[in-house]
Symmetry: C2
Subunit: 511 residues, 2 copies
Amino acid sequence: MADMKKTQCLDRIAAACILMLCFGCFHVTSLKSQLFTRLGELRYSTEPPISYKTLYFDQKIDHFGFLEDATFKQRYLVADKHWQQPDGPILFYTGNEGDITWFCNNTGFMWEGAEQLGAMLVFAEHRYYGESLPFGKDSYSDSKHLNYLTSEQALADFAVLIQNLKSTLPKAQNSPVIAIGGSYGGMLSAWFRMKYPNVVIGALASSAPIWQFTGMVPCGDFYKIITQDFAKSGYNCDANIRRSWKAINNVSSSASGLQWLSEEFSLCSPLKNKIDAVSFKSWLQETWVNLAMVDYPYEASFLQPLPRWPIQVVCKNLAFDSSVSDQQLLHGVSRAAKVYYNYTGSAPCLNTSQTATSSLGELGWMYQACTEMVMPMCTDGVQDMFEPEEWNFQAFSDECNAMFGIRPRADWAGTVYGGKKIASHSNIIFSNGGLDPWSAGGVTENITHSLVSILIPDGAHHLDLRYTNDLDPPSVRAARAAELKYFQKWIKQHHKTTGKATASKNSKKSL
Amino acid sequence: MADMKKTQCLDRIAAACILMLCFGCFHVTSLKSQLFTRLGELRYSTEPPISYKTLYFDQKIDHFGFLEDATFKQRYLVADKHWQQPDGPILFYTGNEGDITWFCNNTGFMWEGAEQLGAMLVFAEHRYYGESLPFGKDSYSDSKHLNYLTSEQALADFAVLIQNLKSTLPKAQNSPVIAIGGSYGGMLSAWFRMKYPNVVIGALASSAPIWQFTGMVPCGDFYKIITQDFAKSGYNCDANIRRSWKAINNVSSSASGLQWLSEEFSLCSPLKNKIDAVSFKSWLQETWVNLAMVDYPYEASFLQPLPRWPIQVVCKNLAFDSSVSDQQLLHGVSRAAKVYYNYTGSAPCLNTSQTATSSLGELGWMYQACTEMVMPMCTDGVQDMFEPEEWNFQAFSDECNAMFGIRPRADWAGTVYGGKKIASHSNIIFSNGGLDPWSAGGVTENITHSLVSILIPDGAHHLDLRYTNDLDPPSVRAARAAELKYFQKWIKQHHKTTGKATASKNSKKSL
């Protein structure tokens, strides 16, 4: 039983990892065939695929101490094709927990905005991810080497990089910089503006759950939103997922049931015991979570390709009445899961130990979740469709200690980043999708006239940051237009304040 | 020659140390006989000497990493005699580089304001000073143990302490907190509001040279102001100090001259060679610097007692015409120096290796100057009365490396604390004295309507933070009154925002 609890707790951490990690991993099928919309005006792109320079900057490993004076190579990508010199704006992507090229390729909003704003694009990789490893292959070797993996260090990297770019790039000295990020990257964007308003004039924090911390929002809201997504996407869809857990418990209580389940779900590794069944349920839960995040209005490709509005397709397999048998129900669940894992029909079997990626990113986020990014989550099985599980900080802390030899500090993020008391800051846009479970921890109401919320009712996770698509709902088009208007306002204000408006001619184009 | 250069460079670091360290060390002769002024109305106090509780809080040694999870005891002092419960304000002194009881005893402004505002007073000791030693007696043993001595860690200490006080003290949950500090403590106050506006509603940064960093202000302004203080305090006073350096060079070029100088200045350790003469000049230079800082309008006691307007008294000994001989001039300089070192006539001899204090504080500030707090200083001998010396960062860095095994990062303070780009912040009062050399690096003009400058033309170093005195010039009385008005405005705004004004009744008294 102790082992099972442990597994559950680890899974909860892993789920958070995968969730956050997924934020930037969605790929459109082909950049060449990508539909471009320039600020509301639909057009087919004749432009070549995006092109950027890959550069490296020597960053201090430790910005907050002087004993460790060594540096590492931080990767960053620069695209200046549309940059208006001198003093044209810089859109700066505050990289999250993954390879920066993913974010670069999946943040079409920036590529589409560059021409309109006459902006240079910079995508900065977050330390400990992608190629930006402070200690090379030893970066993850132990807690000593992991000690510099914090959001504060990452923000300092961004600040130092920008200061350096502005002082060394010709004609960039007076360029206003706007931070942009999605998910954890969005949290970083918001925090970046809060902590370094001298470096960035404003920030777009897309789908950034800056309040998903202890005591700020109810721990169950995240899973409630997922449940709502399924509830409205098909007849009895949430109810049948809620029933499926008990059905799995029933069926998996016998050896033959385990075998049946393994075959029904085409599992690569057959379930052998109760612990396997618990892992199996966690894997399914993650599947529904991931689907809620990527419930986009058009075909898109994640690690697996997905259809348009994938939850609707999933739910077609779950439209049972309550009279259905356990095995009939689980047959539906199996078909539903295969929408996610085998939409193309090419997967030979399903792997329950599969996570979003096998890259270092997952472990990195796990460390961050175990230190600063403590995001309480819970389920009650009533207001959500999952098995009830309370948030247990002590168990979580013990797991972190066992895994990394460190303990999380649950209150720190609230103290250092302000929690709900952020009204004195300025120039931050918080955009959130109504379908996105992470909106539970997001800022979804205006705080002041310059700390504003943009809601995208039909949007999943940071839909606004993706390339435009002719199937985009009007709400996301409006969101992007509003975001660009704020950018222009900030840029204009910057040039007014500094008395240099030479490069703003392009940004005066009407949106 | 190499050695001499080294000595000069070290002296320059030491000078900065002493200067910053002195900020809180001025004592009034007796608290019992202290004149109190309650908000402009002069009265003799019938109150007993100040009384406070001494408490200790377990702080993380490292707020920015999770490997080092140990804690240390941070000392803080609490006085709640006048505190209006619930929700009365808290005036929070952001301790600087010394024993917190010094600052507590020398910040009469807070004690006098507590009753008027119904405020609790908290004085928090800065880590690595006084009793707040992260590694006890080993705290200064090497650069490994010194690694957590940074302003960022100190600010995090303050934030965590306040969050803890507010969540554990009954009826303090909604108490607005105002940061107050002088000199480096004032810099911390300003930065605290910038970085943690969720924790403090505003800050009074008295004599805080937040711009005394690379590229922000001319490196020579500090010494220019000192020169001006002497120039206006007596006939030919600055000119004769300027001439004294060459006179010392002339006289010290022979063994008999060195002996004459040693006797004339009643030195405890006679000068033996050229290197000693260089140190002797540095010591004199520090003397003039210190005098400019403590040029108060009433008798006050520093490490040595001083007369009212001490520079005027000093200058009476230096009112020579240009025809005076080297030895006559130096006889005057000797008498001038003795105003500072032997006003009471009880010093048997003068010690040229004397520094402001022999406490750990000096070494701590030296470390901070060698890491983050890199404050370029220079003299040209034309616009100031000192021997010309350029700012040589490389030499400075080499000295720091030799001393601590670390290198300063000259640009970091500007990046992390915003430099001149701080207009987006709010609710900070920067007060500066016109006589204070540190005003050279201070904010002496309003930046916005809520980032305001208060000038005290007749004030030396953070005169406004001292107890009222019947010899106070009107400018400092006006400054204190204005500061309290801002406090009341912020407190009112806080209660308006949070909807709780129960404890503000006392703060509604007219000032």
